[in-house]
């Protein structure tokens, strides 16, 4: 969150150690995406598990967050 709320720079989050995504996790991603959006950036997630990607996609998060599996 500190990186997302910082003044500049892209933010990439490695999800390799996150086997699943809960709503608390989604909330954190939302806050980071909002903070980045204010300075014209998009949050990038890498190494998302297929299940996490599925949840992000079905929730509509992939419309405003870039996700790589």
């Amino acid at each position: 969150m500190r990186a997302a709320e910082g003044p500049t720079g892209a933010v990439e989050l490695d999800l390799a150690e996150a086997p699943f995504m809960s709503s608390t996790g989604l909330c954190v991603l939302l806050l980071a995406a909002k903070a980045l959006q204010k300075r014209g950036e998009r949050l990038r997630l890498v190494d998302a598990s297929p299940q996490t990607y599925n949840v992000l996609n079905l929730s509509g998060f992939t419309l405003f967050i870039d996700v790589k599996t």
Partner: protein, 574 residues
């Protein structure tokens, strides 16, 4: 009201005191109630925890130091969580007499691990092997003398005085004097177990596990009897109405007023009336239910996380449109944090199960508790007013199914079967909402700012993951009536299609056919799919649900793509 872990006057019996030990509700050890009366100390349900036994011993030792009396131990029934520690650890020379219903005494004597429910606990606990001098409600007095000789040369008589209730129903009753006009009354209230009794001191009634006897996961335990249970509810209701009882003390959880217990028992009686053919809750059934509980958790967590995610996504877009108050309102309608707390708590419990020797039965009971808590949250008015409720509705149906199955109800028999092809056509129509209707609702709301934001929110939340999927549907050439309720099949197909869409699939080919007494539904994609993306336990859950109907769910890879094959038992055309 009665407080835990402190001596206090017994309502309606001024010279008697009670010390209730009420641990956090669990299926391993029960509450214990200790009474101090002029001529006796009474222990009701010692429980099955070493710590609790030590606490009881300390309390009794302290009480005996003030005034030497005999100790009478009663079991409300012989289940392991109430009876295991009935031996107690007391100073040498302490006079102790134990009492239980004759069916319970016999079960303990013959080391019956079923009727005592010892089989539920994976650590193979020892059964209580203490001697029971007081055999309650024995049909033959020779097997249990009604008079107990005491060490000081006195004797205590177990009086038998049945109560004839209106309508000529008989409530079996026995009683013992505790001195100074105090007496302990015992009523035979079977159903949860044949040896279940309720005990009264003053205006306080101990009901054992009768208040939980219709709960999912509890009904169907060895010795459970539907007809006896309904009779016992009726008898206790009559007692609560006529016998000046003010407080009810259950075998687990807090004591409540007689009025609250009466209302609770009436609700339970309604639920219990449907439970006439409950299957036995044996070890095999518990193991299957444990797996079902795990699957339910994954399905519930997945559906509710996606639903929460959609609300977060809506709030994101509303914030972009500088509608921050609407964004906050959207999130406030659904108690995401509380749901997350409940699910996390269950995850921790399930993890503890995997790393320790918790009983599988405990996981099932925890699942029942979680399902009940989620049902309560999801049924609140705010949520009902929400936007795309299909995920919530799906979750609720899964929770209802789960609770029914744990209770032993054959829920699938109540469903209306239907034509599969018609249902698929309806799903596809829903997946592509009419653009004409969509444009008018915004136009109509344009002049009312509040309504406009509401309609906008509704539209943002109506995001369907199937909207951009290209479907091809090849229906069967024969009738596709199948033995499955439309709602349940709709839930499974939508979940599978959404799951496929979630992996990035752009085309789904659907084909149905009738073969070998089954209606087959093929959902195929041109792209490969990792089934783990949909959640393996969720797929197991759909397979389990279909299996109950004689159907199945299979996953396979075909011509570079993936395929889910749903098989349903075909209904014969008439």
């Amino acid at each position: 009201m009665i407080e835990a872990n402190v001596w206090q006057k017994v309502p309606g019996a001024p010279s008697a005191e009670i010390f209730p030990i009420i641990p956090k509700c669990n299926c391993v050890s029960s509450n214990c109630y200790i009474f101090s009366a002029p001529h006796a100390l009474v222990v009701v349900d010692p429980g099955a925890s070493r710590e609790q036994t030590q606490q009881i011993s300390q309390i009794l030792t302290d009480a005996l130091a003030v005034s030497q009396r005999r100790i009478l131990v009663f079991l409300t029934h012989c289940h392991q969580d109430h009876s295991q520690e009935a031996s107690l650890e007391l100073p040498t020379g302490t006079e102790i007499k134990r009492f239980a219903h004759h069916a319970g005494v016999e079960a303990l004597k013959r080391r019956d691990r079923n009727l005592t429910t010892a089989y539920l606990y994976p650590w193979h606990p020892e059964l209580c092997d203490a001697r029971f001098e007081g055999i309650l409600f024995a049909s033959n007095h020779a097997s249990g003398p009604p008079v107990f000789e005491l060490a000081d040369g006195e004797s205590s008589e177990l009086h038998t005085e049945p109560i004839v209730m209106p309508g000529s129903t008989t409530l079996q009753r026995q009683w013992l004097s505790l001195g100074a006009g105090n007496r302990l009354e015992i009523y035979h209230t079977p159903g949860h177990s044949p040896c279940s009794i309720s005990l009264r001191v003053g205006s306080l009634l101990m009901l054992g596990d009768l208040p939980f006897a219709a709960n999912p996961g509890v009904c169907g335990l060895d010795g459970w009897n539907h007809a006896d249970l309904l009779q016992s509810f009726h008898k206790i209701d009559w007692l609560l109405e006529t016998a000046s009882i003010t407080v009810c003390c259950p075998g687990h959880g807090c004591c409540v007023s007689a009025q609250i217990m009466r209302e609770k028992l009436r609700l339970i009686e309604c639920e219990a009336s449907n439970l006439s053919n409950v299957p036995l809750m044996d070890a095999e059934r518990i193991s299957a239910l444990k797996l079902y509980t795990d699957e339910l958790l994954e399905e519930t967590a997945a559906l509710l996380t996606i639903f929460s995610g959609r609300l977060y996504a809506v709030s994101y877009y509303l914030s972009l449109l500088e509608e921050d108050s609407a964004a906050t309102r959207v999130l406030a309608t659904f108690n995401i944090d509380q749901i997350e707390r409940i699910l996390s708590n269950f995850r921790r419990f399930a993890e503890a199960f995997n790393t320790s020797a918790l009983p599988e039965w405990g996981v099932v009971l925890k699942g029942v508790q979680v399902a009940g808590a989620l049902q309560q949250i999801l049924s609140t008015k705010h949520v009902q007013q929400l936007l795309d409720l299909s995920l919530v509705n799906r979750t609720q149906r899964r929770l209802e199914d789960f609770l029914s199955v744990v209770r032993g109800l054959q829920f699938l028999q109540t469903e209306q079967p239907g034509a599969v092809d018609e249902l698929i056509a309806q799903i596809l129509a829903r997946a592509k909402p009419s653009t004409e209707r969509e444009s008018t609702d915004l136009m109509e709301a344009a002049e009312n700012e509040e309504l406009f934001v509401e309609v906008l929110t509704r539209r943002l939340a109506a995001h369907s993951p199937l909207r951009d999927i290209e479907f091809e549907f090849v229906p069967a050439t024969q009738g596709t009536n199948a033995n499955i309720g439309a709602e349940r099949l709709d839930d499974i197909l939508i979940s599978l299609m959404e799951g496929m869409a979630g992996t990035g699939v752009k085309h789904i080919n659907i084909a149905t056919r009738v073969a070998s007494g089954h209606v087959e539904i093929r959902l195929a994609s041109r792209e490969r799919i990792d089934p783990a993306a949909l959640g393996t336990r969720r797929l197991d859950l759909y397979n389990r649900t279909l299996g109950w109907l004689g159907g199945s769910l299979e996953y396979g890879e075909q011509a570079g793509g993936a395929e889910f094959l749903v098989k349903l038992p075909a209904l014969q055309e008439t």
